[in-house]
């Protein structure tokens, strides 16, 4: 176990370092100059020079990199070139929004996906299965922005059930916060729900035809217990893996969803930063995303052993 953890830690550190290096030099290799993007319409040479000097962009790139690493190790992400605000404070406003959106989307997707998947597997060949499959197909193939636009059109403009945009922090007014974020979370969760549903359905079909389920049935257990305690528990392994793997997709989905609903989250911040060549923000975002990815992967692996006792992190297949 200790050796496994060490290996994982080393891999993670290497991944982080590599992504940092690639992104740092990658964004600087892009055409475009943050000073130009920031200068707007008043691009006098003095102004451009002053901006470059203020943000240390007039230094050689290797020097900039050394300063960046030194600062980042101390937990300082620098100052946004676009807004002049420390990146860390931008992250503290943006992260909770995206975290709430993503967590809610995963919950909604898991509930819908697992529920529909179990139903489709148990009611194989009946209308319930066709319905679930049809919904999954729609969820998979319709893009977020289109769904989002439709939702705004019908649920905000036409009926006024939900606000069309805006965000209220959770701590300020929990009810109003949910009112604003439920719709974007549902939209963001659709694709994931569809994937979870299909995977749950096939894993359930797998389990339901396996020996241990037949044994459980033969022992006279009620059908509900057979489905939840035996078949579903094993199928959940797949679901957990999918959620872990789909995290990247969720982040890119959040970018689109946040743009449409005007949520001041991580995704919107990233888009703006890339278009404005806001180096410090892009670097911080990539670093954090990579870290999140690594940490979540690690926990997904640990979860396996909780769900399926046959899997133990010993390095040996059970």
């Amino acid at each position: 176990m200790a050796r496994y953890l060490l290996t994982r830690a080393w891999q993670s550190a290497l991944t982080l370092l590599l992504s940092t290096i690639v992104v740092f030099f990658g964004v600087r290799a892009l055409p475009g100059d943050p000073a130009l993007a920031l200068a707007g319409e008043d691009r006098s040479p003095e102004a451009l020079e002053a901006i470059r000097h203020h943000y240390g962009l007039d230094q050689p790139v290797p020097v900039q990199f050394a300063q960046y690493v030194e600062r980042t190790v101390q937990g300082d992400f620098g100052v946004s070139i676009r807004t002049g605000v420390p990146v860390s404070s931008m992250l503290t406003t943006a992260l909770p929004v995206t975290a709430e959106l993503a967590v809610l989307a995963i919950l909604i997707a898991a509930l819908l996906g697992v529920g529909a998947g179990v139903l489709a597997a148990v009611r194989r060949g009946r209308p319930a299965e066709w319905l679930a499959n049809g919904m999954a197909l729609i969820g998979l193939s319709v893009p977020h922005f289109w769904l989002g636009l439709l939702a705004i059109l019908y649920l905000s403009v036409a009926t006024g059930l939900f606000p069309a945009s805006g965000f209220v922090p959770l701590l300020e007014d929990p009810v109003d916060n949910l009112h604003h974020i439920v719709l974007p979370a549902v939209i963001l969760g659709t694709g994931l729900a569809a994937i979870i549903m299909r995977q749950t359905r096939s894993a359930m079909l797998d389990s339901l035809s396996s020996d241990y389920v037949r044994t459980a049935k033969a022992k006279g257990l009620p059908p509900r217990a057979v489905i939840t305690r035996h078949a579903l528990r094993n199928s959940l392994i797949v679901v957990v893996t999918i959620v872990g793997l789909q995290l990247g997709g969720l982040i890119s989905g959040a970018v689109v969803t946040e743009q449409i609903f005007g949520l001041p989250g991580f995704g919107k911040m990233t888009i703006d930063a890339v278009f404005q060549r806001d180096y410090p923000v892009i670097q911080a975002v990539v670093l954090l995303t990579a870290t999140a990815y690594i940490v979540i992967n690690f926990f997904v692996d640990l979860l396996y052993s909780v769900i399926d006792p046959r899997i133990r992190v010993t390095g040996d297949p059970a």
Partner: protein, 558 residues
Amino acid sequence: MTKLPIGGTSSRKLDPLRTAVAAVAVLCTVVACSPVDSGDGGNQTDNSQPAGQDSFGTPADPAAVKQGGNLVIALSAEPDALDPTLSRSLYSRYVFQAMCQKLYDVDEKAQVVPQLATALPVTSGDGKTVTISLRQGARFADGTQFDSAAVKATLERHLTNARSARKSELGPIDGVDTPDPQTVVLRLKQPFAPLLGALADRAGMIMSPKALQSLGDEFASAPVCVGPFKFAKRVPQNSIDVVKDPNYYEADKVHLDTISWRILTDASIRAANLRSGDAQVADSVSTQDVASLRQDASLSVLQSQSLGYQGLTLNIGNVDGVRTTPKPINRPIAQNAKVRQAFEHAIDRKVLVEAVFNGLHATACSPISPASPFSSPEAQACPAHDPAKAKQLLAEAGVPTPYPVTLLASNTPDTLRLAQALQSMVKDGGFDLKINPVEYSSLLDEQDRGNFELLQLGWSGRIDPDANITNFVGTLASQNVAGYSNPQLDAILTQARQASDVEERKKLYGQAVTLLQQDDALIYLYRQRNLTAVTKQVQGLQVFPDGVIRAAFAGFAK
């Protein structure tokens, strides 16, 4: 049952290189897709209309408006720092309009009128001393008295701050004197007519000296000025809120309690928020949406022709980058004005505006808007659409047709539609136009480096014509990306900048336009209209030719 060996040969093992490459791939994907809005400068999202039909909105009738209410304005781009010295984004002016009054303002005829000053400035005979008398009894939002010392502190900050965006606007100011609390005297090194226009924009916004002292470079975190509203809260990327200021000198004329600007970059989302009632005002409405918005009985669309332009820049000498000495470029279109004139004659501006913008924009043939007090028949002269003449000019220049030209343009949907319309149009004139769409930040970079043959560019416009011309066509000027240099034109522009008489300046700008059309380094195409949609419950909201939404004295109908 699938076995998942962990830590052994799992297919899910982290691959450092792959993750890093994926991160960059994501980055490049984002760069490759179209920005919804190009921010300042180049091509803002639509704002447009045909010649003629301006509709600026009318002031509120106090009897028909109720007190109180929160006005929500859906804004197409995020304002930058709310600091009049540092601000570079046009969108910041919308917020400043409610919160930071200026020495001078602009009326609907694009004429300068006093705001924190009591009269237009008095300029001495030699044009080097400008005296401004100030309003009495005004207070900043923090209670500090507004006086000449405050004006001096603000102007000096504009002139000396390292990152000031105002320094060049204020021109040759040598010093600021305060003979008494109600009088400010500006001493100039040489006469500078555009000064008044600058003082009617961000350079004329006066900041509280007390707040400047305590906040310094952090002024934008809690800006304090004289205005109907004062700063309340800002959530980056999301919203800016201001509340009614009881200290304001005409507080009884203010009806609303609060104004919120909510940043929504997508035009159709802004329109949806307007229809759902989540917002009452939306700026930069797309020309594609105007017709459907007009059909909605509860909405009206304000339109005001901007003072700027959209056009094409030809690279005729920018080899080593902007602001470097122009060098010859070995291409007929760069060397021979006849080829450039042919290109201009191949363009049918009317059809362009009709086809691409549903006729909502005005055609433009010069940098001077007909709405400008400095406009004249010469400034509005226009080379006709004449494909036969275009071909004749190309023949005279000895150029084989179809002559290939590559257009560098921003990859926003509007610009691409414009480029495609141009492409099919100039065919008849003997040109084969290729389109090279790039993302906006890259476009800025390429144009400054001179890596283009033909470029689509725009300018939002300023009140004084000098600010719409000299920077782009003056020899070695800061945004002369064409690498264009004409000493005769430089002399005319310098003369016009130092002349104080409007008629004289009018005449000189007319001559400048004639020269510009002969050389054709810039081909002006159309003038945007600022399109602002407002729900009819809101009264007194106005948009003037400077493009700024004036919401401070609006109110909800009783």
